[in-house]
């Protein structure tokens, strides 16, 4: 549960490993588990000196002394759950008997601030329990009085335009078609919309892609929209992990990996790769010293975030030139802050999205989700909230105290009943590792198989036709990378599970739009130049 002990005394070796996996996040552990189960026990190198897991890692414990008792709460990166369409991830966890009992989300609020006034609407249940079929299911929002209260005449007038844009998004599948939508950003998609409707999409974009509308590539946003909500009402069904993500997902996965013979080494920051006749030599160094170590592997799987993968390949003599010409999706820094209060907020949703004039982007009431916090709440009646800040690089450079002040001001304006009840606060800053997904040009955006023999990639930033995102994409590309290695070893591969199919009406519209686009292309071709 607590910090992993560093494995010491790893020696440089020339006996080649069958596979070295660089990175022990969801993608790296997925590759490693699928290889280990087929008898190819890999060596997994993780740069973090204490915690495997990357964006799903656990963190140090925060202690809180309250009413004569010391309470211990583990930190984490900030990923709290999974979505219903994460089929491959759930299947993997089930197969290894490590699937936690996820806590189903009940409600997500949309909290909007305009002109200093705060509006709150229950949005999550309206979308997933909508009585209107996808993609029109958002209409259910419009019979919720609180949502209506937020909209003005201008919003109503731009609604047709919003629907047109959404149906346009149904007609394009950036991932399967490899559509880069180059030069287009979310701000182009929402151009001409009213401020309130733009704010909803800006909130979605910050929460999911960690960037504002001007920075979010349209290909990534459309792919996100399609996967999480546009094609099915119930795709927007979230389940929380019962504790921090390290304890709920990563540590059980690491335990299983070790059981299957895999080796995980922490504090191994891979610096470069060198091609040798029988594979790749992997160079790494630890946090505390500059001494470099190496190991030889027949195959290497790069399962790290996009900026780190770029750094490694640009530092490697055999890949340097090509890597400079490759397309690399961006990754964004984030910050998460936790606040403990001596009383609970008013009844309402356990989580929600902030938009409009708020600085923070979302919130999760941990005392309603995570077991340690639930226990604390039961005993003391206190509450705890985690808020996230995405997509504002300049603001993220401010000192901790300034960010905490901004965040607590937002929490207080959304939950005024908690003013003066703050007990404790903690902040965690995450490096620029959160993928700002986009589809890059074919041939320049790395896929599972790289241009270099024996070197594979996986992660949620990798180009692959799967419509999935984030944890599920990391898992899917991880399985695909394992399959690529297994094929080279003439071992049986792992089948992938399909996501849920679109609802009938959405499928009909999708087909109609695709047919329309094809006809338009044909007309263009036939037209004289």
């Amino acid at each position: 549960m607590e910090r992993e002990t560093k494995t010491k005394g790893f020696r440089d070796s020339d006996a080649p490993h069958p596979v070295i996996v660089v990175g022990a996040g969801m993608a790296g552990l997925s590759v490693a588990l699928h290889l280990a189960e087929r008898g190819l026990a890999p060596l997994v190198l993780e740069a973090d000196p204490h915690y495997p897991g990357g964006r799903v890692a656990g963190d140090d414990v925060v202690e809180l002394n309250h009413r004569g008792q010391t309470w211990r709460f583990r930190g984490e990166h900030g990923v709290h759950g999974i979505w219903s369409a994460y089929h491959n991830l759930q299947a993997m966890l089930t197969r290894y008997h490590i699937r936690p009992m996820f806590v189903p989300a009940q409600e997500e609020n949309w909290t909007y601030k305009r002109g200093g006034r705060v509006y709150v609407a229950e949005a999550g249940s309206a979308i997933r329990h909508s009585w209107v079929p996808a993609p029109l299911h958002y209409l259910a929002l419009f019979i919720r009085p609180r949502f209506l209260g937020m909209l003005g005449l201008r919003d109503w007038l731009t609604l047709p335009r919003v629907w047109y844009s959404l149906i346009f998004a149904l007609g394009i599948d950036p991932l399967r078609e490899g559509q880069t939508l180059e030069g287009l950003y979310l701000s182009d998609f929402t151009k001409g919309w009213s401020p309130a409707l733009r704010a909803i999409f800006a909130g979605l974009s910050r929460n999911f892609l960690s960037a504002g509308p001007e920075e979010t590539p349209l290909s990534g946003f459309v792919a996100f929209l399609r996967f999480y909500t546009l094609r099915r009402r119930d795709a927007w069904a979230f389940s929380y992990m019962p504790a921090d993500s390290g304890a709920s997902l990563i540590e059980p996965m690491v335990g299983k990996l070790r059981e299957l013979g895999g080796v995980l080494e922490l504090d191994r920051s891979v610096t470069r790769l060198e091609r040798e006749t029988n594979g790749w030599r992997v160079h790494w160094r630890g946090n505390a010293s500059d001494e470099t170590h190496t190991a030889l592997a027949r195959h290497v799987v790069l399962a790290t975030d996009a900026p780190n993968a770029e750094k490694i390949l640009r530092a490697s003599p055999d890949t340097r030139t090509a890597a400079a010409d490759l397309y690399w999706p961006r990754a964004m820094p984030t910050a998460t802050m936790r606040f403990w209060f001596d009383q609970p907020p008013r009844a309402g949703a356990e989580a929600g999205i902030f938009s409009g004039e708020f600085v923070i982007d979302n919130y999760f009431w941990l005392h309603r989700l995570h077991n340690p916090y639930v226990e604390w709440h039961k005993v003391t009646g206190g509450s705890a909230v985690e808020v996230h800040l995405y997509g504002r690089p300049a603001m993220l450079e401010e000192p901790d105290a300034a960010l905490l002040t901004r965040a607590i001001a937002d929490v207080n304006s959304a939950f005024p009943e908690l003013r003066g009840h703050l007990l404790h606060q903690a902040i965690r800053r995450n490096d620029a590792t959160h993928t700002l997904f986009s589809v890059g040009p074919a041939g320049r955006h790395l896929g599972i198989t790289s241009p270099w023999p024996g070197l594979f990639c996986c992660g949620d930033w990798v180009r692959h036709p799967s419509p999935t995102f984030f944890l599920e994409r990391a898992c899917v590309t991880g399985i695909e990378a394992a399959n690529a290695v297994l094929r080279a070893h003439h071992s049986p591969t792992w089948p992938l599970l399909d996501g849920p199919p679109p609802e009938r009406f959405a499928r009909f519209l999708e087909k109609l739009m695709l047919r329309g686009r094809r006809a338009r292309r044909r007309r263009k071709k036939a037209a004289p130049p």
Binding site: R99, V103, S125, K378, L496
Partner: protein, 356 residues
């Protein structure tokens, strides 16, 4: 109108009010957690866990538990372990019917001990026998017992199928789909058609989710599509098309676990559902023993105070016994379609599914 049917209508109103604590349509009482078989897929109690089995209650206490249950609903599922191993099973069911006035009683058994307990049959509305294949060799492997035991179960199934009309119960075959049995499902269907019994299907669960090998199997998907088509053509399949489609597409459904609560041998109410209770964390557990309360309402109040209202969309359970009550409660039109459109559902009454 039976109490469970009345609860169905009341629940519709509760749903309109967006309440989550719905009234029970049926309650499952695990009279014992002892079992005489060791089915390879069993995640519940199986013989290999008999040493940890809970001590069953004396008859009078078990009846007190049933009295509280009867306050909530008049539909009861008696199961285990193997319920026929409960020493007072015949008087319990007899008195449940005669004294407590349960309107619908279902017994879920592996069928092996039925000849020794035939006195129970006239008091049952539905007899559910677990049978995953009609092939004795495969069955003996599944139940981890000699071929003769498998043959005995098959013989008993046929015998008690023949006695349905005479004794006044409906026999239902409960078939767990495993990668090993998907190819022999037709033999179970044939047996059901031949003996005029109903059959219900659930996927094998591993840690409460359909087994990976099933999910990645084209044969499993094809089988589900075939079952939907067969059902539409009038095959004796119990379980709604909505449920089969949920399995086929692996999509979440809105779950209301208090529609079909579970009570353990000791009388402990499981809340909000067994999978969450099994985790033993802050989100669920056994908030009260029915011997210590006087009404169902009181038990549920204790539960809700301890753990809060039950969750709604949970992507955890795809077994029919968990999914179907919620699917039918939240989709009245689907229920109507089942009852009007499909002959097997009509035979099963409001209960479009068999407990698993």
């Amino acid at each position: 109108m039976s109490l469970s049917a009345r609860n169905y209508w009341i629940n519709l109103v509760k749903l309109l009010r967006r309440e989550r604590l719905l009234r029970p349509l049926v309650v499952t009482y695990y009279v014992t957690t002892q079992c005489n078989l060791n089915c390879v897929y069993c995640e519940d109690f199986g013989a290999r866990r008999n040493a940890q089995a809970e001590t069953p209650l004396p008859l009078e206490d078990a009846l007190r538990v049933l009295r509280v249950i009867r306050d909530g609903t008049d539909s009861l599922i008696v199961t285990g372990g193997e319920p026929l191993l409960y020493p007072h099973i015949v008087p319990l069911v007899t008195r449940a019917r005669r004294e407590l006035g349960f309107h619908q009683i279902t017994l879920l058994t592996n069928g092996l001990l039925l000849p020794q307990h035939e006195a129970i049959l006239p008091h049952l509305d539905r007899l559910v026998i677990s049978l995953d294949t009609a092939d004795p060799d495969s069955l003996s492997q599944i139940i981890d017992a000699p071929l003769s035991t498998a043959q005995e179960i098959l013989d008993h199934t046929r015998t008690y199928a023949r006695r349905q009309r005479q004794e006044g119960y409906q026999l239902i075959i409960n078939c767990v789909l495993t990668p090993e049995t998907t190819s022999s499902v037709q033999s179970v269907l044939d047996l059901c058609v031949e003996h005029r019994t109903l059959v219900s299907f659930s996927p094998q669960a591993v840690h409460n989710w359909p087994r990976y090998d099933l999910l990645v199997s084209d044969a499993y998907k094809a089988l589900l599509a075939q079952l939907m088509a067969l059902k539409r053509r009038g095959a004796p399949i119990l379980g709604s098309v909505a449920y089969l489609r949920t399995l086929h597409d692996m999509v979440p459904y809105t779950c209301y676990p208090t529609l079909a609560p579970r009570v353990m041998p000791s009388g402990d109410l499981v809340y909000p559902c067994r999978p969450i209770e099994n985790e033993g964390d802050s989100h669920g557990g056994r908030p009260c023993n029915l011997l210590e309360v006087t009404s169902w309402e009181q038990a549920i109040e204790l539960a809700a105070n301890a753990y809060g209202p039950p969750p709604r969309i949970c992507t955890s359970c795809f077994q029919q016994c968990f999914a179907e009550p919620s699917l039918m409660q939240t989709r009245p039109l689907s229920l109507l379609r089942e009852l009007i459109g499909y002959a097997p559902s009509r035979q099963g009454g409001v209960w479009t599914h068999a407990p698993g």
